[in-house]
Structure formats: structure tokens, C-alpha cells
Point group: C2
Chain length 187, copies 2
């Protein structure tokens, strides 16, 4: 739980009262590899901080899987599409490793944003980071072909690479696993 607070405080300073209010609303849960933190069709009610482990957010089109993003330890995440609108999610969240998350309920977070200006500021910073990440992703998908996207991922996520299967990486990059295998073979 304290890592959650540390992370927040680093991003945007919180006063003592807001820290206490946050702490009072945090819960922690453990998941095994393969467990779903969120099933599609359900509303994402939580904002998560990942203490340990790795998750992927993804969705299916027909029987094909597409990965939106990987989240390793020490970052915050949620399914914004569902969390922000409180509508059923198109996306799912799955633990790729034994994972421990600390989370806060959307209702509580919303109230705390209203109550504490500094928490609203924190949330704004979180959304800023998410926006920057997604913007980067979009520009990469536009300007780079599969090989370049793969190389970029490798250099920028070197440490994650060993923890992600080839199939998952391919789904993230936006190609088939067979294509990615071929790309790797050519180098």
C-alpha cells in the first residue's frame, strides 16, 4: 500500500490528510498467472497500482487477441475506456505472472478528487502520462512498419522482453506471431 502512496507523492505532492484518505480506501489483492483482473463486458471499477508482477490489457476480435498494453510493477493502470465512463469494458486485464495489486474504487477516487484538490491534480497527471504514452503508440503505428516497431519495442523495453511471450509481443505490435518469428529470423 505504501508503494502506491510513494508513487503518487512522487508524481504530485499530496498533503497528509489526502494521504490518509487514500490509505483508508486502498485494498490489496493477489492474482496468479493467467487470472483475470477484469473480464470484458464488466465495468472496470478500480484504479490499480501494481506492486509486483505483470499484467496485459487486451481484447478479442473474433478469436484473434490484440494487446493494448503491458503494465509491470510500480505503475498505475486501469481500463480507461471503462473506468472513465463506467460502462462495460471491451477490454480484459490478465496477470502474466503472480501479481500483487493495490487498488482504489472508482467511486472513492471520484470523491477524493472532489474533496482534495491535490488528488485531482494527481489524477490529471496520471491521465497526462497515459495520453503521452498513447500518443507515442499511435505515431509509432503510423510511421513504423512491423520490423521497426519490433526493434523499437526491444530497445525501449529490454527488461520486459524476457517476461513476455512471442505471441503476446506480436499481438501488441499488431502482427501475427508467425510474422514476428519471421522478422526475428531475418535479423
Amino acid at each position: 500500500m505504501t508503494d502506491f502512496i510513494k508513487f503518487c507523492n512522487k508524481l504530485s505532492p499530496l498533503n497528509q490528510e489526502s494521504v490518509n484518505d487514500l490509505l483508508n480506501n486502498l485494498k490489496t489483492k493477489t492474482y496468479q498467472k493467467g487470472d483475470l483482473l477484469l473480464k470484458d463486458g464488466t465495468v472496470c471499477k478500480h484504479l490499480y497500482f501494481i506492486n509486483q508482477g505483470l499484467v496485459k490489457t487486451f481484447f478479442y476480435k473474433k478469436d484473434k487477441e490484440f494487446i493494448m498494453r503491458f503494465f509491470p510493477e510500480n505503475v498505475m493502470f486501469s481500463i480507461l475506456e471503462s473506468y472513465l465512463t463506467q460502462t462495460p469494458s471491451k477490454f480484459m486485464i490478465m496477470a502474466l505472472e503472480p501479481t500483487i495489486v493495490t487498488f482504489i474504487h472508482q467511486n472513492d477516487m471520484e470523491q477524493l478528487c472532489t474533496k482534495h484538490h491535490c488528488i485531482e491534480t494527481l489524477f490529471r497527471k496520471l491521465l497526462s502520462i497515459a495520453s503521452l504514452n498513447m500518443m507515442k503508440r499511435i505515431s509509432i503505428m503510423l510511421e513504423d512498419n512491423a520490423t521497426e516497431r519490433y526493434n523499437k519495442f526491444v530497445t525501449e523495453n529490454n527488461k520486459l522482453l524476457q517476461r513476455i511471450s512471442l505471441g503476446d509481443l506480436a499481438s501488441y505490435i499488431g502482427i501475427t506471431q508467425v510474422s514476428l518469428s519471421r522478422i526475428r529470423a531475418i535479423k
Copy 2:
């Protein structure tokens, strides 16, 4: 200027004092078709509201152009990559039609976010919308091929379609103009 306030108030209610503070910091400017609102390599200092007209945000890789997004009248926009970090922009903003924008300086907006909780809330809502839009864009780029992306754009942006050139639409979809022409011919 008042359309700016109307838009904001609709998104997130503002008290009178914050409205006044906003109004005192707004400026309005007119651009001709083809004018740049922002050149790449410069820092995006403003958050814009578009009263009239149409702009595109885009970038170059070598001599190829890629379009991030179109913004028509009555929406807010900026180059978040640069605005949020106050670093030189990879992206440019160009008017595709005679365009009138009302805008606020990043310094001023930041101060107002600190001064008025309700303006911070407004900004959070703006970032939420941007995040949802980008999330949708990413999932479309993952799951849909060029033909599907084109069809989706046509049905969802029917009114914009007549105002955007084929080449620009292709750059947005992420294919060459020649490919898009072929896709349209097949239907």
C-alpha cells in the same frame, strides 16, 4: 471567446470567478487555409478551442506525412506531447480551412488549475476525452485493416469527409493515398 466558456461549462461546471479568470486569459486568432498554428521543433504553448474551421495535427517521417487527428469547430485541442511536457514538438498544426481559434497560454492554464479546483477538474475531463479517443484509435489500428478503418471513418465522420482531401484521409488511416483510392474503387 464565449463559445470556449460554453464548451467548458458544459463539460464541467465552472463558478463565476473561474469563468472570469479564464476570460481574462483568452486570446483569439484567425488563420488562413494552409497556415501553421504550430511548427515542429517549437514548444506548444497553448490550449486551443476551435470556433470555426478545421485543423490537422501531423508530423513527417522523412518526406512522408502522417496525420494524428483532425479537429473541427467546437472542440478543444493541443499537441499534448509538447504542451504537457513543454518540450519541442514533433508534430505540427495546420489550418485546413479559414480557421478561428480561441486559446489560453499553458502558464496561465497551469496557474488557473492550481487556483481553481473546478478548472483542474475541467482539464482532467479534457484529458479523459483525449485518452478515450486515442484508446479507440489504437484498438482500431490493431484490429481493423485499411478497408475497415476507412469504412469506420466514413460512417463516424460523415460530415467531415467532404472537408478532407483523400491524401489527408489516407495519412490519417495510415496508408498511402494510392492505396486509399484503390480501396474506394473496389466498393
